[in-house]
């Protein structure tokens, strides 16, 4: 009996540990370091309809407890992800994975999502709604409940796979966003994406990041993530995937007590390429420490508990 087995959206996972989008590439390169088949699942690098180079360098700024990134969704575009990246991944990973989709208009998200309908190696779509809505004035999709609901509805209408809506923490009331996604028909919520942050270079007196601000992630955001996982998992019925600053097995347990059905590990993969492997190996010990038989017993069953 596998004590770590978890269930997400009707799918059995070996464990609830999933590398977060943007911190694990398209997965296959990590198979040079360890057998990635031990992972619960994988969330792939944010993919857009057309190829994108992303932002100029510098794209990275270190912070006392994490980092700021402004990659700008660099990716080869959906077509090439399907033809090249997924083919490479399939050779080293036996299960289907989660595709993460970014966009700058409703049409971007809809068209990109459709492209993955018939791709066997994808079992779920995660919508990154932290991107600016170019046609809607540049404000992020994920900061307005009406937009979230409408976008979720539109994608859900064309998508044949489970839909995960990934929420941005850069809002006043995260519950409103979670409820909007649920009302729009989302099957699951994941959170948190990065917090908008900035660092200034003391020598140049200017922002380090080329586009000035970027997304803050890593251990410093963990308490914010826990609070948001807690609040959202208690106001929607759909499952919540928790992430934000998780670095070890005890923090995985904390996120699950907060209400996460599974967790994603982001920045820690960049600091320690073996992070997910270590967490998976450490989890049984942590379960023992708190006399938990199976991790599935930790998962919340309903919104009111």
């Amino acid at each position: 009996m596998n004590r770590l087995e978890a269930e997400l959206l009707g799918r059995k996972l070996k464990n609830p540990i999933i590398p977060a989008s943007g911190t694990f590439g398209f997965g296959y390169e990590f198979s040079e370091y360890y057998d990635i088949n031990i992972l619960g699942s994988i969330a792939l690098k944010g993919t857009t309809l057309m190829p994108r180079y992303g932002n100029p360098l510098p794209r990275i700024a270190e912070c006392p407890a994490g980092m700021i990134n402004a990659i700008g969704l660099q990716n080869p575009g959906a077509e090439q992800v399907i033809s090249t990246e997924l083919t490479k991944l399939k050779k080293v990973y036996n299960e289907p994975v989660i595709i993460n989709i970014g966009g700058h208009s409703f049409n971007d998200y809809i068209e990109t999502s459709k492209m993955f309908n018939d791709v066997d190696s994808i079992w779920a779509v995660e919508l990154n709604i932290s991107c600016p809505n170019v046609t809607g004035g540049g404000m992020a999709f994920g900061t307005d409940p009406k937009t979230i609901k409408k976008l979720t509805e539109c994608v859900k209408k064309v998508l044949k796979k489970p839909l995960i809506v990934k929420l941005s923490p850069n809002v006043t009331c995260i519950q409103d966003m979670a409820i909007a996604a649920e009302e729009g028909g989302a099957d699951c919520i994941s959170l948190i994406n990065t917090l908008v942050g900035m660092r200034i270079d003391l020598k140049t007196r200017k922002p380090i990041i080329s586009v000035k601000s970027g997304g803050y992630s890593g251990p410093g955001v963990f308490p914010v993530a826990i609070r948001m996982i807690y609040e959202t998992s208690r106001c929607v019925k759909i499952p919540v995937i928790g992430m934000g600053g998780i670095t070890n097995a005890r923090e995985v347990l904390e996120a699950m007590y907060a209400g996460a059905s599974a967790v994603m590990i982001g920045t820690q993969n960049l600091v320690d390429p073996f992070a997910c492997k270590k967490i998976i190996e450490d989890l049984p010990m942590v379960l023992d420490e708190f006399s938990i038989e199976n991790i599935s017993s930790v998962i919340r069953r309903n919104a009111n508990a």
Partner: protein
């Protein structure tokens, strides 16, 4: 890439702000031009450093104190154990050229040390550029491997000027160059001549290809400094203005 724990064997000051750190442990497979990425207590991200020298059991780094982590490194005592990712990136192509030229500016001299040692038989010319006399170091060591030319920005030692201005003024006999240094130096150099390879730096998130934090434009598409680089052929890199 390998994740190893290495023991500090030596940490010595070479100039007012330049240090040599010798690490011992499983160090096999580190070629000239590759780099290591080291985890230091109290710093969120790892710090990348070029391999200045290595054999199966040791790695030598040459580092300049520029900020928090490099300051902290000066306090590392013999016996300290550090978490290091080794064998990162792609090194220099040693099989190019009959008469190589090595060009290093500032901390860019670090990866050229091992390279010079390996190209010893081809008797390379080596131009090292420094800001000022007080920054100049390792001249005896480099002289063993080839003909050394020193430049300083203020002319306080060697020839006044930059490595590129020196290269323009002198007619050196070479058919292939290897260069590492500040981006302005590499940009000026590649404008002048593209018959060689350059080692680049970028602010890294991971240093092993996972985050796309270090992608640059090249004539053959986007490449990661940490994974496809840090060494690129000189004509390949598209420097942004």
């Amino acid at each position: 890439m390998k994740n190893v724990f290495l023991v500090v064997e030596q940490n010595i000051q070479l100039t007012h702000d330049f240090y040599k750190l010798v690490l011992r442990g499983d160090c096999a497979g580190n070629m000239a031009g590759m780099f290591v990425n080291i985890k230091l207590d109290g710093f969120s991200l790892r710090r990348p450093f070029g391999i200045a020298d290595s054999d199966d059991h040791t790695i030598t780094l040459l580092y300049k104190v520029v900020g928090g982590a490099t300051k902290y490194m000066t306090s590392l005592m013999a016996g300290a154990i550090i978490d290091v990712l080794t064998c990162l990136g792609n090194g220099f192509d040693l099989n190019q050229g009959r008469k190589p030229l090595l060009i290093g500016g500032g901390t860019g001299i670090a990866p050229l040390y091992k390279l010079a040692k390996q190209l010893n038989e081809k008797k390379p010319d080596i131009i090292l550029g420094f800001r000022s006399a007080r920054d100049v170091c390792l001249t005896d060591e480099f002289s063993q491997f080839g003909k050394l030319h020193i430049t300083t920005d203020d002319g306080s030692l060697g020839i006044k000027g930059t490595v590129v201005s020196y290269l323009i003024s002198k007619k050196l006999d070479y058919d292939y160059y290897y260069a590492c240094g500040p981006i302005v130096m590499l940009q000026a150099l590649t404008k002048l001549t593209q018959n060689g390879e350059v080692s680049l730096e970028a602010r890294f998130g991971c240093g092993f290809g996972a985050c796309m934090g270090c992608s640059i434009k090249t004539v053959t598409g986007y490449k990661r400094v940490c994974k496809e680089g840090p060494v690129f052929s000189a004509g390949e890199v598209i420097f942004s203005e």
